[in-house]
Amino acid sequence: MIRTSVQAEAFDAAAELAALGGDGDAGALVSFTGLVRGEPGSTLELQHYPGMTERQLDAIAGEAAERFAVLRGRVIHRYGLLHPGDAIVFVAVASPHRGDAFDAARFLMDWLKTKAPFWKRETRPDGTAHWVEAQAADNEAAALWD
């Protein structure tokens, strides 16, 4: 019901969004697109844990479908080399009413941030690189759904 993908390729958020609308069952469609922030010339590399990533995305999607009224949904997470402005992650949910669509999309993102095995490595234009640190705020956001 909420289809998930892990891929290196770019995705077409527009086409994904259009596919979820339906023909009268959904009153609300919420999408979240996560984008690479950074100055021109910087890059972001996303590493992930093949196999576990797919399992976790499906588990998170299943939990969302159980907690909220979700008619259709979509989760796409990219890995590999990305540039500022590139889309990293896409979450979209179609629901009868807007409360469930907003809640489910936000839940998916909050859980993805803390439960999907991805790691970001940022390289600045001058060539220095570092692994992005996990944010306490992300754990707090995820904990609100416990």
Partner: protein
């Protein structure tokens, strides 16, 4: 007891490899035991596992705590807190 260990992100960089299959002696029963056994093997492990509270673990691709029991043939992932999304 044989384990297939996978390292990711900064942990991978510090250990210096993507992963390894290793035999552990009897008495290595938990994730914590595995870390201790590896730390006896070399400086790269001691550096990578210096702050175990900053590590996360997955057994057969499911998150577990540091006290989780390991079993022969399992896949053990060792990595920093995730930063996707």
């Amino acid at each position: 007891m044989k384990l297939n260990i996978l390292y990711f992100a900064a942990t991978r960089d510090t250990v210096g490899m993507d992963g390894e299959t290793r035999d552990f002696p009897a008495g290595v029963a938990t994730v914590a035991d595995v870390l201790a056994a590896l730390e006896r093997e070399g400086e790269q492990y001691r550096a990578a596992f210096a702050e175990p509270s900053c590590l996360r673990f997955a057994l057969d691709q499911v998150f577990v705590g540091i006290d989780a029991p390991v079993r022969d043939g399992a896949e053990l992932g060792i990595f920093p807190p995730v930063t996707g999304g």
